[in-house]
Amino acid sequence: MAAGSGWRRRWQQFYEGLLERRLPGQKTVRLDSRKLFIFPTVAGFAFGLVLLLLWLLAINYQNNLIFAFTFLLSSVFVVTILHTFANLSGVEVSVLDAQPAFAGDRAQVTVRLAQQGRRFRDSIRLYYPGARPVMVAMADTLTADVRLYVPARRRGWLDPGRLVIDSTYPLGLLRVWTHVKPTLQGLVYPKPLAASPPQQSRPALGEGVLEVAGGSDDFSGLGSYRPGESLRHIAWKQYARGQGMLTKHYTDAVDNRVWLDWDAFPGMDREARLSRLCGWLLVLSRNDTSYGLKLPGIQVQPSRGEGHRDRILRHLALFELTPAP
């Protein structure tokens, strides 16, 4: 068993080396004979067995017609090699875009298959390891875009592994395949974890402090009662004086400029802190709060909006990682 697995490992290494030499990461990969592999499928080997049996039948019955039909089916196999190969040959593969995703989710990667002429190609299967395969055909089109959902495992740049493209068209007797590495730039944000918002040092009232209506801390005035308001806030004294139904209004004094602070989670390791910062950020951006980021060596002034959020997520994703692949 040990020897077997040793061989397997060695084969794996050889195969990966071969792929690395022949199919380095490229923006657009054009599939040609150097990059495509072809081998009979199980059905193809069974077809070979059928041919063998027919051949024996022909020999034993000395029947030249059975010889002819056996040779015809053998030739079908050979012609199918060319057809199967041609089904992938000449296809250009590139990644149109990769949507950012949170670690643990699936990232949507759009792969574009393109060809020079309008050749009919059928039943092309694409998949990244661990992702659901997608079948695509190119009939009378120059391009076909395929959306694949790949597992985003770790924070940083998305690395879905090699894209497998294969096809057994037209007869399923042979499989032509390749493992390409079209370059893609997809971000994987930290896996968001729910974090109880940590104690914030409340700065003095003034700039950046909002009074949030509907709070419960400070009394700010009276207003006329609207149905649905809590009975606890009805100003019963004024009501008893016959001034009508009034409600007591309070405000919470909240510092709206929140800092997503590295130091807010003491004692945790880097990834745990980033995950919590990320989860916190999602809550804040949903509440349309203005927030900034404080990481060791990085500070982003508080602001709001989607652009701001994505900028901060990018910082979280790439924190202490090499920049771009």
């Binding site: 059928v50 017609l65 079908v76 050979v78 060809q115 695509v136 009378d140």
Partner: protein, 689 residues
């Protein structure tokens, strides 16, 4: 236990598999027991109901019961499952049962491969051109089923019932495979059988049988089937020499003639070709006028072959028997080609017959035909010379006898009744009574059965011998001459020998009674006769170059390659195989290079090209509408067409993609554009203009 998601066989693949099933099984119906045919119908009906969603697949117990029924039925029908028919019956039953079990891709694959087998085994029963073409269609359907399993259906065009894409794919692949197949067929070596296989059990043995009794040959006169074909290495001998010896019958039981036990010979009974000489073969001296010929014999299921007398075999596995007939080592179950050397006028068995042979060749059953025996003794006393005696009998035949395919029935003393009462008979009557008479007169004589004559195809230089050419004649042993052939029929009906059966008996009702619409009936109509000869030639070519190709392969290859050895064959397969695949490679490459423009754009460019040829080029940046207006002004006669086309282009171009509905419109426009001749002079309109 885990529940696996049900695999759905692709719809197009399934339909083709069902069509292929029907197409492939139907021609087998003739040699299958009826219950298998019924079972196949039930299976396909059931599968269609499953497909329509009316029924479910059979459960495990039903399947087990069906399997048991099939195996029981096969054992009942065939006993032990050996032989060709049981094999095909087994294949068809498995094929039918598999229809009802398609849960995984593997099941569909098994169905496809069984389909290939069932289709191809058909040529074990019939090898005609028609059946071969039918098998090709069967292979096409099965391959379409296989292709249908691997196609993404949405991309191909649908017709009302089935999806034609997989059929087209299969047809393209099969057509492209044919050149390579021819290369392989040409050079792949044919090996000798690895083990002996059982042949067809109850194939009707047509042709001459190993016994002869009155009426046997009239039966053969009813059939125009080919018995064998002959090509001569030199000029064909005259028709009266063409006596194709099959069997020699020396044993008479009062009714039928049979082969006698070969008693009394010294040495081996059969001299096989290629075996060291030194036994009795020296009997036949070589004559200067020898002639080589080659025979392709239709399957007879018997061991004897047909040859001119005397002949030496020149083919492995063929031997010369003691009675100068040729025999094959094994029964002839397929078409058999053999060569032989005809040595006319060579005497046979010149030395006096051994006494046992003399006894055998003159023996008669004592209790039959007393009248003939009496008269023979009488004539013997009057004519001491053997040849004079024979001439006298022949003269009697010529004077008083009639040759007919419809002789009256004969009773116990068949020779007596024929010679002295009915005097109407067919070749077997003449041969039988002649030999009987000679033996009664003490002359060694025996019956020879085989064929006489044949139809010569002058354009293609070969001879076709048919079942109705079957013939019986006699041979007599004479002092100083050895065995000499005599044909008493020739005395009665010389035209039978000179012109053949067809001319002699064309008017008789019995002739070709089995083939009422045979082209042989219309020999008088020249073009029909020519058509018949050409069809026969086609069949001859088919037999010689395809069915019996192993017979000519070696000679052909050594002429083509210089010598036949594995290296040359390998090289030939590589080079010729590459050439055979080149068109496919070019086609695939060309399609890949393809036209990057859409069909619509190509169409519009063609439109512009035609206008430019007529002298009106499109300016750079000129829109279709402006260009059309300019063109209409220039060619007012074509105004309607120009505007029509331009409108179509604009509408499709700016309204989105060309969908299926527009596909038809596109084709229609393409047709119209073909007829578009801007500025052409029209005979009718130009006058009025």
């Amino acid at each position: 236990m885990t529940i696996q998601p049900a695999w759905q066989i692709p719809r197009s693949g399934l339909l083709w598999l069902l069509i292929a099933f029907v197409g492939v099984v139907i021609p087998h119906v003739g040699h299958l027991p009826p219950w298998i045919t019924a079972g196949a119908i039930v299976a396909i009906g059931w599968r269609i109901q499953v497909y329509r969603g009316c029924w479910g697949f059979p459960g495990i117990w039903i399947k087990v019961a069906l399997l048991a029924l099939c195996i029981g039925g096969l054992l009942l029908s065939y006993g032990l499952l050996v032989g060709l028919e049981p094999m095909v019956a087994l294949l068809v039953s498995g094929y039918s049962l598999k229809l009802l079990e398609m849960h995984r891709p593997r099941d569909a694959l098994v169905l496809v491969y069984l389909g290939y087998f069932v289709a191809i085994t058909l040529c074990l029963f019939d090898q005609s051109i028609a059946v071969t073409s039918y098998i090709l269609v069967g292979l096409l359907l099965v391959t379409a089923g296989l292709a249908g399993l691997h196609q993404t259906a949405e991309t191909t065009k649908h017709s009302a019932f089935v999806e034609l894409g997989s059929l087209k794919t299969a047809a393209a692949i099969l057509l492209q495979a044919i050149p390579l197949m021819l290369v392989l067929f040409l050079v792949m070596p044919r090996f000798a059988p690895l083990w002996s296989v059982p042949s067809q059990r109850d194939s009707a043995t047509t042709g001459v049988s190993d016994s002869m009794s009155p009426g046997d040959f009239t039966r053969l006169g009813r059939s125009a089937a080919t018995a064998f074909r002959v090509t001569f290495a030199g000029p064909m001998p005259p028709k009266r020499q063409l006596y194709w010896r099959g069997l020699v019958l020396s044993d008479f039981d009062g009714r039928a003639w049979r082969q006698a036990v070969p008693w009394g010979y010294a040495g081996n009974l059969v001299q096989w070709y290629g075996q060291p000489d030194g036994s009795w073969r020296g009997d036949i001296p070589r004559s200067a006028a020898s002639l080589d010929y080659s025979v392709i014999l239709e399957p007879t299921q018997n061991q004897w072959l047909y040859a001119l007398t005397p002949s030496q075999p020149l083919t492995e596995g063929v031997g010369l028997a003691r009675d100068h007939s040729l025999v094959n080592r094994v029964p002839v179950t397929g078409k058999r080609e053999y060569r032989a050397r005809f040595m006319p006028d060579s005497p046979r068995d010149l030395d006096a017959l051994p006494s046992i042979r003399h006894f055998v060749e003159t023996r008669l059953p004592p209790e039959f035909n007393p009248e003939t025996r009496r008269l023979a003794a009488e004539w013997r006393a009057e004519e001491p010379d053997n040849e004079a005696l024979m001439r006298r009998l022949m003269a009697l035949f010529r004077r008083e006898f009639t040759y007919t395919l419809e002789p009256p029935a004969l009773g116990r003393h068949s020779v007596d009744e024929f010679l002295w009462q009915s005097k109407r008979g067919f070749c077997e009557h003449f041969a039988s009574s002649f030999v009987f008479f000679m033996r009664a007169a003490g002359i060694p004589a025996r019956v020879v059965v085989g064929y006489q004559g044949g139809e010569y195809n002058p354009e293609q230089d070969y001879l076709t011998v048919r079942q109705y050419d079957a013939h019986a004649w006699a041979e007599v042993w004479l002092e100083g001459q050895g065995w000499v052939e005599f044909d008493p029929t020739a005395a009665v009906a010389p035209e039978r020998i000179e012109f053949g059966m067809a001319e002699t008996l064309a008017g008789e009702e019995e002739f070709l009674a089995d083939n009422p619409f045979s082209l042989h009936r219309f020999r008088d109509i020249p073009w029909l006769n020519r058509l018949r000869l050409q069809l026969d030639y086609l069949d001859y070519l088919w037999t010689r170059w395809v069915l019996r190709y192993d017979g000519v392969q070696e000679g052909l290859l050594s002429r083509m390659l210089g010598a036949v050895d594995p290296v040359r064959i390998g090289l030939f397969i590589l080079i010729a195989g590459f050439l055979a695949l080149l068109p496919v490679l070019l086609l695939l490459w060309w399609r890949r290079a393809g036209n990057p423009r859409s069909p619509l754009e190509q169409l519009y460019l063609e439109f512009c090209r035609k206008l430019e040829k007529a002298g009106l080029g499109r300016n750079t940046g000129e829109g279709p509408r402006d260009f059309a207006a300019r063109a209409s002004a220039r060619f007012p006669a074509d105004r309607e067409q120009i505007e029509n086309f331009s409108r179509f282009f604009e509408r499709v171009r700016y309204a989105g993609s060309v969908d299926n509905l527009e596909e038809d419109r596109l084709r229609q426009q393409r047709r119209r554009l073909k007829r578009f001749r801007p500025g052409a002079v029209r005979l009718l309109t130009s006058k009025s203009a």
